[in-house]
Symmetry: C2
Subunit: 240 residues, 2 copies
Amino acid sequence: MTEKEKASTEEKVIAFILYPGLTALDMVGPLEVLTTLQHMAPEHHYRTVVVAERVQPMESDIPLKLTAEKAFEDVPNPFAIMVPGGGKPTIRAMGNQAILDYVLSTAKTAKVVGSVCTGALILAAAGLLEGRQATTHWAYYRLLEKLGAHYLRKRWVEDGKFITSAGVSAGIDMALYLTAKLTDEKTARLVQLGIEYDPQPPLGGIDWSTVDRDRRRPELMRTIKEELAHRPDLFHKLTD
Amino acid sequence: MTEKEKASTEEKVIAFILYPGLTALDMVGPLEVLTTLQHMAPEHHYRTVVVAERVQPMESDIPLKLTAEKAFEDVPNPFAIMVPGGGKPTIRAMGNQAILDYVLSTAKTAKVVGSVCTGALILAAAGLLEGRQATTHWAYYRLLEKLGAHYLRKRWVEDGKFITSAGVSAGIDMALYLTAKLTDEKTARLVQLGIEYDPQPPLGGIDWSTVDRDRRRPELMRTIKEELAHRPDLFHKLTD
């Protein structure tokens, strides 16, 4: 075996799943963390990749189009998968069979199956979170429960090889936790310093006592009716 | 004046500058914050846009290509500009006359001129930070000083209409501060809740007492020699 073949055998690919309309920060936060890990600690052989149904510019929730590096079929056996979330486009993606098939087939052999924000709903739609502890964006917790997961109000939740994180920015915290777990604390601190993650929210943290987690429920029910009527299995569970 | 014309007159455009190789999170963090502001508080008439020299997929520091929405010439008079940073590609961008020209011409009339991370070096290369207080990624502070700014070790620094933030993830804090300033605290809290920004770094914050801010100096000097030899004005200031 040549040195190059050896390196490629040892390589542990972390595949981020891109789909149209997703929340860009859900993907870019943890992707920045784990790509920094790749560059700062090459001896650990992690390599990030972005995969999608098609390699072409896709809309996101911000005025920026995103293009994946590879198509699903080009990355059949990643070490880890990571599913970002979003609003309505993520509800739509729950009914996209190409995404569900890729998540299901890669989850079988992946050592880590992760999500950010409502990406957990895609894992749950694929049946992967049934009976598992998990989390998601605060406004979507009930949908996660309806798909059989035990929702926890935490920044990230680990259950076996599954790791789910709360809304949007929580993916950064989760990815740093994962970095420490996959390598060591020293490496995770180097990565944290690289992206200068020393947060100082100008108004402090969120006061959860003021948050009604059901406030977006009517809007979510409308979205499910619009986007998932062609998937009676999911539709009945979510609107029951 | 029709309602539509009135809305367009009132519109305050926040233009994020994209260039090849930049650090994606530098852009996407604050862009997510300010686009959430646009959607959650449309009555304030902010609208984000991503501008670049060319509207075509560009490499970033992560395995994701990014495509701007508009070319520089299509957004000549934004309300605000925001310049993200990066590593070597940002040093290269400091010598890109199209970027410097756009920054200079828009900064004249913009009400807010901002940067994330080493994006401050682009503002400084355009001569905009001379004699001003500013900040940047910790490893690049000396370059900022050599271009005439007074570097402060802070998460973000405001000096007149200029607002600069520290490395990568600091753009999120700065953008939330800006949201509160441009609207009100209640709106900023809504935006913060939308992106669930309630950070919990798994290993805590950064212990700055252990950080040698000059550790990347030899590497930076090499990069400047490689990328800015054709700009003697900048080259001499930076290597002096």
